[in-house]
């Protein structure tokens, strides 16, 4: 078991290093921010001087090693646009994305899980036929489209909710719904499969034979057993949610790290982009690791083979 954990952790570290390297080189190949920082009447000489002061005229390999060196000392560097430590900037924006992801998870689970359960329990009947496309519709909606229409309807026409920004709980509703709709179908599908698996088990037949209603069996046993694969799916979805948050945050001007990343790529604020990608990949890799380990705990075959 320990060997399995160590192996997977090692893999995770290599993966994260790979992410950092890919993003570093992609960013630096796309140019540097010097031209964006200076006034229009700066001369070539002045621009070259600033570029030298910022260190962008060093060979790429040197810049890469310097970056890794700073990372090893847990120094994420300074933003070129805001001239503040990247760690400070990230610390201020991460909570917003976490809030949005949590809200979206609630929406996705809140609608997806009951829908999946319903589809499993009423299999073959019209309810299942009707629910499946509805749930799938959530995954097919372009988030920027649903976002803009929601803002129009609830923000402008009806005036019920704030049109953008992050001022209080009300501002979270629309972005969370827009983002949650994406993963709704994954939860529904997972729940349906897990429940169908459980419903076919012997203990269900036995319980019903003893006279328990289907509802009681479901509530007391099926849901609990179906919870495990669903929770592991949820862990993996967190990574997807944070990725999907990028467009939702942009449309709703939600000040999370997704919006920060898009703005920073546009302004070639390298260190900020690298830090955001690092954060998201670490979260994603951690969740995959945890999900993997959860499976190992449940499935003895994996554990014993070490």
């Amino acid at each position: 078991m320990l060997r399995h954990v160590a192996g997977r952790t090692g893999q995770a570290l290599v993966t994260i290093w790979g992410v950092l390297t890919i993003v570093f080189f992609a960013l630096h190949l796309s140019g540097d921010p010097t031209l964006l920082l200076v006034p229009p009447d700066a001369t070539a000489h002045q621009i070259a001087a600033l570029r030298h002061q910022l260190g962008f005229d060093r060979p790429l390999a040197v810049q890469y090693l310097s970056y890794l060196g700073h990372l090893a000392r847990l120094d994420l560097g300074q933003s070129l646009v805001q001239r503040l430590p990247v760690a400070t900037i990230l610390a201020a924006r991460i909570p917003y994305t976490l809030e949005l992801s949590a809200g979206a998870l609630l929406v996705a689970a809140g609608i997806g899980l009951p829908a999946g359960a319903a589809m499993a329990l009423w299999r073959g009947r019209w309810a299942e036929r009707a629910l499946a496309p509805l749930v799938l519709a959530g995954q097919s909606l372009p988030t920027f489209w649903s976002g803009i229409l929601m803002i129009l309807l609830f923000g402008v026409v009806l005036g019920w909710l704030p049109t953008s920004g992050a001022q209080g709980f009300a501002s979270l509703i629309m972005p969370a719904v827009a983002l949650g709709a994406l993963t709704m179908s994954t939860f529904a599908r997972m729940m349906r499969v897990a429940m169908l698996d459980e419903l076919g088990r012997d203990y269900v037949t036995a319980g019903r034979a003893r006279g328990l209603s289907l509802g009681a069996v479901v509530l007391r046993h099926v849901l609990r057993n179906a919870a495990i694969p669903v929770v592991t799916v949820a862990a993996l979805e967190i990574g997807n949610l944070m990725a999907g948050a990028v467009i939702v945050e942009t449309v709703f001007a939600w000040p999370g790290i997704g919006q920060l990343a898009i703005q920073s790529i546009a302004s070639r604020d390298f260190l900020v982009v690298q830090a955001v990608v690092l954060f998201v990949s670490v979260v994603y890799v951690l969740c995959s690791l945890l999900a993997d380990l959860a499976y190992a705990v449940i499935d003895p075959r994996i554990r014993l083979s070490g």
Binding site: G18, A26, L27, I151, A243
Partner: protein, 274 residues
């Protein structure tokens, strides 16, 4: 090879709808009532069913530089379908061989490939796409390259897993013992057997690529102006959404319809293959 059974009516209907989209995309120059690039600066932001003084009717209204929205939406189907088809093809062409190699030969090559796959998959997809556009630049062919280069790991992972499973089957071992070369085995025996799951992934990816193209065009990083794309029409129309809702609603409906159709198809295929 799986025996071809009768195609269920649900799937037929979906395929027909998909075919309709394809037909519109291919036949755009003949179906569209106007030139999608022709501007009439004095007829900006007119509502659907607007009749111009000259007598022409703009069935879906005009956009922010006076172009016919219906024609632009029709031509927009080309962008969505062309990008999706081509980028999925590129990803398949790159990802499948890598997955087969990793699954068949294992060893260091497989480890390297899988590490790269893991790393690419750990980067949030849209950020990776935006980043790659920053390097390659926007534009139709660069977009295909961007999407092709960022999505191949998804196929590699599935192909790898499936190849591992199939490789242990008796008839494969038999072929090996008979002296068949790996390339022959992979192409003639392994590939056909993993085609099912691969098709399911490709269908999901097809829907995703349509959404990605729209999303990137929406962010201004996809199809270049003045070529219409549903995403860029919606981006152009965003600042007029309260006064010219048609620029947002109609392209969005088309996009939603296409992606829903593709996703329903994928869902059915996944259910059938189980």
């Amino acid at each position: 090879m799986r025996t071809i059974r009768r195609v269920p009516p649900g799937i037929l209907a979906l395929l027909a709808l998909l075919g309709a989209y394809g037909a519109v995309a291919l036949g755009a120059p003949w179906i569209a009532p106007h030139d999608p690039l022709h501007q009439s600066l004095l007829l900006r932001l007119r509502p659907p069913l607007y009749r111009a003084p000259s007598g022409t009717v703009f069935w879906l209204g005009t956009d922010d530089v006076g172009r016919d929205l219906l024609s632009r939406v029709i031509f927009g189907a080309r962008a969505s379908l062309a990008v999706a088809v081509l980028s999925v093809s590129v990803s398949l062409l790159v990802g499948t061989p890598l997955g087969l190699l990793a699954g068949w030969f294992r060893g260091w090559a497989a480890v390297a490939i899988l590490r790269i796959v893991d790393s690419v998959l750990s980067i949030p997809a849209i950020l990776l796409a935006v980043l790659t556009v920053a390097v390659l630049g926007p534009g139709f062919f660069d977009l295909i390259l961007v999407l092709g280069l960022t999505r191949w790991p998804r196929y590699t992972r599935v192909v790898y897993g499936q190849t591992l499973q199939v490789a242990t089957r008796p008839f494969i071992r038999a072929a090996e013992l008979a002296g068949a070369r790996p390339a022959r085995i992979l192409l003639r025996h392994v590939l056909p057997n993993i085609a099912g799951p691969l098709l399911v992934v490709a269908t999901t990816e097809f829907g995703l690529m349509i959404l990605f193209e729209a999303g990137l065009s929406f962010l201004g990083l996809g199809i270049q102006p003045p070529t219409p794309s549903w995403g860029s029409i919606m981006s152009d129309g965003r600042q007029y959404v309260d006064r010219a809702w048609w620029m947002t609603v109609f392209p969005g409906l088309c996009l939603f319809g296409l992606v829903l159709c593709v996703n329903l198809l994928g869902d059915r295929l996944r259910d059938d293959s189980r």
